[in-house]
Amino acid sequence: MQDVKEFKPVIVAFCCNWCSYAGADLAGSNRLAYPADVKIIRVPCSCRVNPMFILRAFQRGADGVILCGCHPGDCHYSTGNYYTRRRMSMLFSMLDFLGIERDRTRVEWVSAAEGAKFAATMNEFVEKVTALGPNKRLEDLRCKQ
């Protein structure tokens, strides 16, 4: 019980440069707090995120991975997030098929204006991942050696 209480998840958040990263900046400007467990990686577009990056994060010790991009239709590159949507739908469904907890992965569309949504999303995601506990099903024990 005590372990669960002290568990601080490692969360990797891939954010597209144009909307979600700006949304995160806005959350910052507005001092909207979310847990320090969330670390953001800036990518030009959500469609830059290769499934391998997500698996890599889990391998290296992430407990949750979230991808944020512009809302469908608002992609700076017009169509990038549509591909992201399909790719991640398929990948997440496959992870689910392999018995990996669904709540460890998430895609959320956050615009540059949605600082509040960014913070709320992160709070909610961290809460869910914390409830799941440490990632055991996609961890690579060697990394912790």
Binding site: R60, R142, C143, Q145
Partner: protein
């Protein structure tokens, strides 16, 4: 000669397991595999396991050491684990022989201390083959499947298991199970051997001979036009090398952990395109060259350096598992035709 009635065999496994881990063939979804005995484990008398007992002495992947880095400091960490006694039961004659071949590689200088340590801690209880498969051709390499070696040799009849210790370690093992065994004469075993040898003669590959091969035959076979044809459908996968009990190539790699590096070794395959990749490039660029290497090594290069001993024991695993059914038997037959010409 010691006799243990078959009804007592689970008891035997239990007693051995009480003092050391015991590995024996059990039926898995995929066929027979060596697994650690636990109460309830059912021993399989299948003629052959999918993979040999090689993993127990030379695991597919094993950590050699680790480096821990902190800032710019590096600390070396010993990760060795291979210091526990263990027993392997039901090793067929071909696989026993394969360990001798691995010994030649790993136990000659420079000695591979990881392998050596596992060999020193392992006791091998072999088992004669009553029902060899159509893929078996151990006879080609002078192996008698009715007379398996190892620390303890064993034979199976309809109602009993017969054991004979060949080494000190073997004797220690039979001592361990003394309560379950009684001394007996060789008659039952001799009869079983006779029966087994009769079957062996009828095997479809019984006539296959390796005489045409051996050290000093490099010139003769290296440029054979057959290689082109033989290798043309090879997928370049590693199945044959990974199921082979004598293949011993490995790669040493570093895995970057969160705190440093784990240095490990893992099986490699000469069939892989990166196998001979070096700083200057790769000296085997075509699948033909890689394919040729594998078989030349087994049939020519290895005997050249090892008193004429072939690096194949005729276990037949590559025949059973190659996705495109290309194997050493087809290679030997094709190359022999070549020498006839």
């Amino acid at each position: 000669m010691l006799k243990c009635t078959l009804s007592n065999i689970d008891k035997l496994f239990e007693i051995v397991s009480a003092s050391m881990p015991l590995y024996l063939p059990t039926e898995d979804k995929n066929g027979a595999v060596f697994k650690k005995w636990q109460p309830g484990t059912v021993w399989s008398n299948a003629s052959n396991t999918v993979k040999g007992p090689k993993d127990l002495f030379f695991p597919q992947s094993e950590d050699l050491m680790a480096f821990k880095t902190e800032g710019k400091k590096i600390e070396v960490i010993d990760t060795r684990t291979e210091t526990e006694d263990f027993a392997v039961f039901g090793v067929r004659a071909c696989d026993v022989k394969s360990l001798e071949i691995l010994d030649r590689v790993f136990l000659t200088e420079p000695r591979d201390s990881y392998y050596a340590s596992r060999r020193e801690h392992g006791v091998i209880i072999s088992l004669a083959c009553n029902r060899p498969t159509e893929n078996c051709f151990c006879g080609t390499f002078g192996i008698d499947a009715a007379e398996p070696m190892g620390d303890v040799s064993a034979w199976l009849t309809d109602d009993a298991l017969y054991l004979h210790a060949n080494t000190e370690r073997g004797q220690a093992f039979t001592k361990l199970i003394a309560d379950l065994t009684e001394a007996c004469d060789d008659s039952a075993v001799s009869a079983q051997k006779e029966k087994n040898r009769k079957v062996m003669k009828r095997l479809p590959l019984a006539d296959l001979e390796a005489n045409a091969f051996g050290g000093s035959k490099t010139e003769q076979f290296f440029h054979s036009p057959q290689w082109e044809k033989l290798s043309e459908s090879c997928l370049g996968c590693g199945t044959c090398t990974f199921v082979c009990p004598t293949c011993q190539c490995y790669d040493i790699r570093d895995f970057k952990t969160n705190n440093g590096v784990v240095r490990y070794r893992c099986w490699d395959s000469c069939m892989y395109s990166e196998f001979t990749k070096m700083a200057h490039g790769n000296n085997r660029n075509s699948q033909k060259e890689r394919f040729r290497q594998r078989f030349m090594h087994k049939l020519v290069y290895f005997p050249e350096n090892n008193d004429g001993i072939f690096s194949c024991v005729g276990c037949g695993r590559c025949l059973a598992k190659c996705p495109i059914s290309m194997n050493i038997v087809k290679v030997m037959k094709a190359l022999e035709v070549d020498t006839d010409d």
